[in-house]
Point group: C2
Chain length 418, copies 2
């Protein structure tokens, strides 16, 4: 038996309440745990809901109620979520959250505070919506030396890129569609600039590598510069463009980034479409393992929150033995200029004479491959696929190509994964 | 700190020992748990191994040693694994297993014995090799009313089908290749007849549906009848043939089966190739979630076993709160004749006159679609894709088609998934 207080009755919070009320019997039958919501803190009241009597505008009715064991924080944002979470943990309540901003900023600290008060801070829902990824990383894969995580972690941008690719929409039109469907906020910058994915890969790599990875150390690039012509050119070469979050161990440091990447159609993440998310984990024992599902949304996220609630309800002090996020020392996140992580690069260019361009490239970049586009919408354009290079070498390649006699202009540049 | 005894130093047991020795420090750093192997029970000794001093041929040196907290059973088979497991649990030791035969046959009983002695019986490695699936089902997805599980659960048959499809091999040749690579046993019947997948879907559905599903109640069909012409015909229609294990709730009963199925290329399981496994779970809150990875092999399976060892080492009595397999009442597994689960069916036939055949079909089965194969290897053959039908209606359709003037013979029949 556990008594729950919910902070914030928005999309996720209301999903948690609904699923707990609907599936409470099934949860009790499966896990032997009775979960009861005692209070819901929200600015608004919801008089028409069957559980309208649970609402309060007084935060102390949740945080100061000794009967409440578990606080569900589904408010989002840093404040007041941080203060409320801290108060709850300090009074010995478990906190379950779906708030990735807070976890990425203060997760390790809040986890430390939780442990000092013999409780836990659970955040499965902060990454990948309903997909079980935090707990599998912390528990099931703990035997592994994990050396790489690659994911499509933002459903909104993945929806936009899917719309652009499948329906030939430009970025603005696809973004409007995402907003019309409620996938993107009115201010969509957290998604489209890659900041959401940046926080999520920081959370995942902190767990996987056992070092505190600061999201502010991770280079993030968004999708707003991607054009429908980029999509068409990638398609003609057998690639798709995805917003990929990636983290790899490199010696004692970590290389991490969020960036649009061209993935070959055979890549395990190439098929991940619409608002779906997927995370590919590479470990020394497990090899590759992939988790795929709905990365956002009311009920999927509620599913993850309630999984955490059940764990909290059955938690025994000193009994978790799961990989914690480190608060002490921040990881060395390598600067793009310093690391030796190699990519192929794809450059799309407007050219004068295609065959002449081809000859010039083969003289100046012998390991590059040139493709003259057949699609009439890419008329007069060529694509160059370089050999494997570090990011610091890219500017030189770009300058070389820009200075060729047959080059009119460099239209776009993408990293390419094999 | 936990002290471990391993029963059986075969592929999986030796993988567990190696990974524990190699990654022990990392595991301690991540989880705070020190794991020590004290004894390894095996008929053979391994004098050249760095841990050769750990071996014993006397089972009591493991089962009667009060210092040993956790017994890892990687022997396989029913006996003596069952007796040893029971003895270990009865003396208050945790047991971690990779033995799907034993879990499918006696899992619920052994779990009950474990609970009576305030310990647990862990079996993550019994399904899906290294893929975290049991724990996510039991914990992370416990909020959901799960209504469907579909998986490619046997790596050997998936390898054989992949070889047949990609390299045009016939079944016998692909099987020999699987044996040469060590994927298939000398007696491959457990894999190719579908018995391995049958046990695994019984385990998964027992957890997901909270009812004991007897594997003996599940209809299992293998892959040995599949020909390379079947593969070619599926390919021409945009499908692949996979050995699929499936379980669905139907009212109070469960429909479960293992069978070759034609999947469209867009199906999430269509891309699962070689020895990889994948499990697709459908729940009312989460929607679809997919787990993908290496379903077998020394190190992936060891990864899953050690995940369980870490949980056992940190286990607190009364503190699990995870969905247990039910021992009391067996689920009602519906007979094929009784259920209303509908498939489309695909029939491949040798015909006399293709156009004449087409006309006859459209007269006798108006909702069926006829395809005349273009591939010269399928010369004189036609494929019929029926409308949605129950399995009990299939014989009638087959008889109807067999009796047409332009039919020479029915070559093969497959279920089709959309």
């Amino acid at each position: 038996m556990a008594v729950i207080g919910i902070l914030g009755h928005g999309t996720v919070g209301s999903g948690v309440a609904e699923v707990l009320l609907r599936n409470g019997n099934g949860i009790e039958k499966k896990t032997g745990t009775v979960l009861t919501i005692k209070k819901i803190f929200d600015r608004n009241s919801f008089p028409d809901l069957p559980y309208s009597h649970l609402f309060t505008r007084d935060i102390s009715e949740v945080l100061d109620d000794p009967e409440i064991d578990i606080v569900v924080e589904t408010m989002g944002g840093l404040e007041p979520a941080y203060s409320y979470t801290k108060r709850a943990l300090e009074s010995g309540k478990f906190v379950v959250t779906s708030n990735k901003e807070l976890v990425a900023e203060y997760g390790p600290l809040l986890q430390k505070i939780a442990h000092q008060h013999h409780v836990e801070y659970f955040y499965e829902a902060s990454v990948g919506g309903g997909i079980p990824i935090i707990r599998p990383l912390r528990q099931c894969l703990a035997a592994n030396n994990i050396y790489e995580i690659t994911g499509i972690l933002n459903g909104t941008t993945n929806f936009i890129l899917t719309e652009m690719r499948k329906k030939g929409k430009d970025f603005e039109t696809a973004l409007s569609e995402a907003q019309a469907r409620g996938y993107a906020e009115r201010d969509p910058s957290a998604d489209i600039c890659g900041f959401d994915a940046q926080r999520k890969i920081a959370i995942l790599s902190s767990i996987a590598f056992g070092q505190k990875v600061l999201y502010t150390d991770i280079n993030a690039e968004g999708i707003s510069r991607i054009t429908k012509e980029d999509m068409l050119s990638a398609e003609e070469l057998g690639y798709v463009i995805k917003l990929v979050a990636h983290a790899t161990r490199m010696g004692d440091g970590i290389y991490a980034m969020v960036s649009p990447i061209m993935l070959p159609l055979s890549h395990p993440l190439a098929d991940v479409e619409d608002v779906f998310n997927a995370v590919l984990v590479r470990g020394d024992a497990i090899g590759d393992v992939l988790f795929y599902g709905r990365g956002a949304g009311k009920y999927p996220t509620a599913s993850a929150v309630i999984g955490d609630i059940i764990e909290a309800a059955n938690y025994q002090p000193n009994g978790n033995g799961t990989a914690a996020m480190q608060d002490e020392v921040s990881a060395t996140v390598l600067e793009p200029d310093h690391f030796m992580f190699l990519y192929k690069f794809f450059l799309r260019l407007k050219t004068k004479d295609a065959e002449g361009f081809k000859k010039e490239v083969s003289a100046s970049l012998p390991d590059a491959r040139v493709h003259i586009f057949k699609n009439p919408l890419l008329d007069g354009e060529a694509g160059v696929l370089t050999g494997a290079r570090s990011e610091s070498e890219l500017q030189g390649i770009r300058d070389t190509l820009a200075s060729l006699d047959n080059t009119i202009t460099v239209l776009s540049v993408f990293k390419v994964s094999e």
